[in-house]
Symmetry: C2
Subunit: 158 residues, 2 copies
């Protein structure tokens, strides 16, 4: 494992496509639920969102599909905070089909803290959130990178 | 529009999340359905898959979230084939909320043609498929890039 365990899920039958395994987009749904779990973990939860009108928006998501995930699999997601600034979190996730140790997928996301008023505007994290993000980053800092990171896509050059 | 129209969809109510707009992963589901439409378009359809045991696997997907998509939106997806080789397709998609002309999201994917036997192995496209891919690539070739492409993610350097 290359990060802090953050989310665990089974596979819903309707997530399986005509290829007999998890449809590509549902790997992304598992990442999305893991982002929700990350938000809970750092205190960016429902009551916080209600009270402040602030939430996270996903700016980018890059998924690498490494192995098929089957209907019978149980997926553990771990997270590493790769970086953060006043209002952004750059995070990496691994999807592991237990008890396998090689990831079935890896993902990177860029998340932006925003306030949803009439217009949506980016907003700095309050100190308690920044501290919780730092703490989560430290907790995953001893882990090395798990699998390929985000990158420019291109066909192999020959 | 920066490509060939390939897929059109409304937004299912269950795709809306606590932020009041389309959950990040469901942008990916729309891209996934657009990949299905791309497969139909080039002849990589159900009968082909049945007859040959061959299909496409997604190797990577990189989505840029540019604007919120709402429950009432109707989304048009266009595609450009950025490149292809003997067994891979590199494609770019735009999600447009009609009648807006600026994309709500862009995505790039790398797709691999595989044969699903007991083991899964990559396989060259048959000539008819390669010709159809070329044709689709030509049809989108006059269009410029629409929005940011895939890239390494990183926080702004200061």
């Amino acid at each position: 494992m290359a990060g802090v365990p953050i989310y665990r899920t089974g596979i819903a039958p309707e997530w399986i496509d005509y290829n007999g395994h998890l449809r590509d987009a549902y790997y992304g749904l598992i990442v999305s639920y893991a982002i929700d779990a990350l938000m809970e973990r750092i205190g960016l939860d429902g009551p916080y969102r209600q009270r402040t009108g602030c939430t996270l928006y996903t700016l980018e998501m890059h998924i690498h599909y490494l192995r098929e995930i089957k209907a019978s699999d149980s997926v553990l997601v771990d997270v590493r905070v790769l970086g953060a600034d006043r209002k952004r979190i750059h995070a990496a996730f691994e999807l592991l089909c237990e008890p396998e140790t090689a990831p079935a997928a890896t993902a990177e996301v860029m998340l932006l803290h925003v306030r949803q008023l009439e217009a949506v505007a980016s907003e700095a994290f309050p100190p308690a959130l920044s501290a919780a993000i730092d703490e989560l980053q430290q907790a995953g800092a001893q882990h090395g990178a798990g699998g390929p990171g985000s990158r420019r896509m291109q066909l192999p050059q020959r």
